[in-house]
Each structure stands twice: as structure tokens, then as C-alpha cells.
């Protein structure tokens, strides 16, 4: 009877218990981190961040809305420059409307207004709309890359990647 009991003394019991608790804690932490990673899907069925936007000669002076619905971009030709303007309001992320009669972008959520250049002039918007990276590929087609943004308040609108000279 006593042999089985003596095979595990108090000190050994607690060391086994410690290992068991550490293993249990590590397993729980591992599962929690897996669950966290699980909440970030690997594939998203959202519009592509990069797209071809025709050739520069299809655009007339002013705002072109053909890529607004699919890609969230206004193509604006203004004073010899063609640029891709983000349609996300810099206040809280709503989508402004282009109002041709008043030559301004107007946000329906809280009334922010922007000039055709994207610079804000009314409402709560704290800064101008962002412009996306734009360039020409080897075939002369326009490539707009939404992963790279240029901000006016940081002086980035002079960057040659933020517009095409037309």
C-alpha cells in the first residue's frame, strides 16, 4: 500500500502540478492567439486597390465620376494636371457628392465642402481630400494605386507621383 503513495511525495506532486498548470496556461494562450488571428481573414472580396483608368485624352477639364462607384476615385483634370482624388471625407469617412452646379464636393453626413482640387473650405472636415498615386504604364494607360496616398497638408501634392501632366 505504502509503495504507491511514496512514489510521489509532496514536492514532486507540486512540481508536476506546476508543469500541468503552465502547460494548461500555454494551451489557453495559444488558443486565444489562434482565435485572434482567426478574426483576420486572408482573402477579402473588396475592390482592387490598383486599377487601370483609360488614357489621359479621355478626360475633359473638370471632375470625372466614372471610377467613383467601382473604385471610390474621382479623376480630376485641373490646370494642366490630372489626379486621382479620394472620395472619402476626411471628417468621418462618409462619401461626398460632386455638385457640378456649385463646383464643389459636398458631404451629406455633416456638410463638409471641398473645392474641385480637393481642398476643404466649409463644414467640419479638418483637411483636404487625399490624392492617390497615379502614373502611366508602358502602353500609355493610366494606373491608379490607392495603397499610396498624398496629403496636401503635408506638402505631398507636389510629388510627381501624385499627378500626370496633361
Amino acid at each position: 500500500m505504502s509503495e504507491a503513495r511514496q512514489s510521489l511525495n509532496r514536492r514532486e506532486f507540486f512540481s508536476y502540478l506546476s508543469v500541468a498548470w503552465i502547460a494548461f496556461g500555454a494551451a489557453c494562450a495559444g488558443l486565444a492567439s489562434l482565435a485572434f488571428r482567426y478574426s483576420y481573414p486572408n482573402v477579402n472580396f473588396e475592390p482592387q486597390m490598383e486599377f487601370l483608368a483609360g488614357t489621359p485624352d479621355i478626360y475633359e477639364e473638370g471632375v470625372d465620376e466614372r471610377y467613383k462607384k467601382g473604385f471610390g476615385v474621382w479623376m480630376v483634370k485641373l490646370e494642366g494636371k490630372l489626379f486621382a482624388l479620394s472620395n472619402i471625407c476626411t471628417h468621418l469617412g462618409c462619401i461626398p457628392n460632386w455638385q457640378p452646379a456649385e463646383l464643389k464636393f459636398k458631404c451629406p453626413c455633416h456638410g463638409s465642402g471641398y473645392y474641385m482640387s480637393g481642398v476643404n473650405f466649409e463644414g467640419p472636415a479638418p483637411r483636404p481630400l487625399e490624392r492617390y498615386k497615379i502614373g502611366l504604364n508602358a502602353e500609355g494607360k493610366i494606373i491608379v494605386d490607392k495603397t499610396k496616398v498624398f496629403r496636401q497638408e503635408k506638402g505631398q501634392w507636389d510629388n510627381p507621383n501624385s499627378f500626370i501632366t496633361v
Binding site: 483576420y40 469617412g93 462618409c94
Partner: protein, 260 residues
């Protein structure tokens, strides 16, 4: 006498005795057994101070909040029988809940109940603060209550998207952009631009808290499903658990606080 005789006969049946293990609550011991021996009532104190049921002192605001939570749970489960959380069906199902289903006010009950629960939660918190009931030994329960308040607001926030109309989509867009502005955790927040190694940006729109909340960069169908699960399963389970802890601690910390 005849009625009493019948009641006694019912109490002597095996069915009655198998359900109620104590005698009729006509003495102090049995009345205590009624509360202590019941799985639902055992969270409740066996004895209450007379001041504990004074409406002028407690406003019954905590009890009202719990009552509304139960009403929201029941009406919410009923709504789930008709609502499909997909971009194709969600809005139409919401309209159908009013037009094509008997008792078309079920959704309104749920909506107004949600507003009421937020109000009563705040008033309960106000009462607890004004009566000093957050002080030791009740400080832990105040902390549990604060978490419950946040979860109540999160329940309202996640439920906001489910009608899938313009108001819902843009309200959640605005709310999710607040997540985007979280320090270090959102890609537009302070500190996010510091977290980079050379050209490698550690906090981007593909791995920040807004992406986790919406399962994407903007409010789309994955966000609708995610909010639906959070609203109907995840947050209610956490809230239910914390409510049990909250009630248990009210009892263990000396019952509802009394006027001095």
C-alpha cells in the same frame, strides 16, 4: 377549508415534492429555503433590508435594466427567426418584419427597448454614484457595472448595422473610423506611423482594429455578418455571465446599499 385541503393534497403529491424540496414558505426557514434552493433565485439575497425595496432610494433601476435585458433577449430571439444577415436579404427582411409578419411591432419593441436599456443603465449608474454605493466593499461590483455599461453600448452599436439601410451603413462607417483613430491599434491613430520597420508598415488598413471589427476596409457583407454574431451571440453571452457575477456580488457585498 376545502381549498386549503386541496392545496395540502397537491403539496403531498410526488410531482410537487420532486419540484419543490421544501415545505410551504410559511415560516422563516422555508422562506429562506425557497430562495437558497432555487437555481434562479439563489443569486438573490435571502433577506432584504426594508430600505432595499424603497423605490425612492433605488428607483429599481438595476432591476428595470435587467427586466429590459430579458425583454430584449426574448424579442431578439423572435426577430432572429425572420432575419437573414446577408446584403441581399437583410434590408428586405427588416421591412418584412413589419409588413409580412404578425405582431409587426416586434422590431419596434426591440428598438425602443434598446434605447430604454441604455437610459436605465445610465440612471442606475447615477443612482449608485449619488448614494455612494460604489465605495468599498462594493468597488469591485462598480467595475463590473462599468464593463456592463460598455457592453450595453456595444450591443446598441452592433445592432445599429443590422437594418442595413443608409443610416446603418454610414453610422457604422463613422464608428469604425473612430476605431481607425485608436492610438497604435488603428492605422490612422497617433503612434501608428511610428510602428514601422524601414518601409514595412506594421499597422496598416489591412491589420488594424478597424479591419478586425469590419472584417475588411469598409462596411460590407462580412461586417454585417460579424456584427450580427457579436450582437446576437457573443456580447449577450458575456453580458449574461457578468450579470450573474454582478447580482452575486450585490448579495456577497452586503446587499443593496441602505440609506445612512
Amino acid at each position: 377549508m376545502a381549498a386549503k385541503g386541496l392545496a395540502d393534497k397537491v403539496r403531498e403529491t410526488q410531482v410537487w415534492k420532486s419540484i419543490f424540496r421544501h415545505g410551504p414558505p410559511d415560516n422563516a426557514r422555508n422562506r429562506a429555503a425557497v430562495v437558497a434552493g432555487n437555481v434562479f433565485l439563489h443569486l438573490h439575497p435571502i433577506k432584504l433590508k426594508k430600505s432595499g425595496v424603497q423605490l425612492g432610494y433605488t428607483w429599481c433601476m438595476g432591476g428595470l435594466t435587467f427586466f429590459i435585458f430579458l425583454a430584449l433577449t426574448v424579442s431578439g430571439v423572435l426577430l432572429m427567426f425572420y432575419y437573414r444577415p446577408t446584403a441581399e436579404y437583410a434590408f428586405n427582411d427588416i421591412v418584412a418584419l413589419r409588413e409580412h409578419v404578425p405582431l409587426g411591432i416586434m422590431r419596434e419593441i426591440h428598438r425602443w427597448g434598446a434605447h430604454a436599456m441604455v437610459i436605465t443603465t445610465w440612471l442606475h449608474m447615477f443612482r449608485v454614484f449619488m448614494t455612494g454605493s460604489y465605495k468599498p466593499p462594493r468597488e469591485f461590483n462598480w467595475g463590473v457595472g462599468v464593463i456592463l455599461l460598455v457592453l450595453t453600448l456595444l450591443l446598441s452599436f452592433t445592432g445599429y448595422l443590422l437594418p442595413w439601410d443608409q443610416l446603418a451603413i454610414w453610422a457604422i462607417t463613422v464608428g469604425a473610423n473612430m476605431a481607425k483613430a485608436t492610438p497604435f491599434l488603428g492605422h490612422g491613430g497617433p503612434g501608428a506611423s511610428l510602428a514601422r520597420i524601414g518601409d514595412f508598415v506594421m499597422v496598416s488598413d489591412k491589420n488594424d482594429v478597424r479591419f478586425q471589427l469590419l472584417a475588411g476596409r469598409f462596411v460590407g457583407e462580412p461586417a454585417l455578418l460579424r456584427f450580427y454574431i457579436l450582437h446576437c451571440v457573443f456580447i449577450p453571452l458575456v453580458v449574461g455571465t457578468l450579470i450573474a457575477v454582478h447580482f452575486w456580488r450585490v448579495r456577497k457585498d452586503g446587499g443593496i446599499s441602505a440609506p445612512l
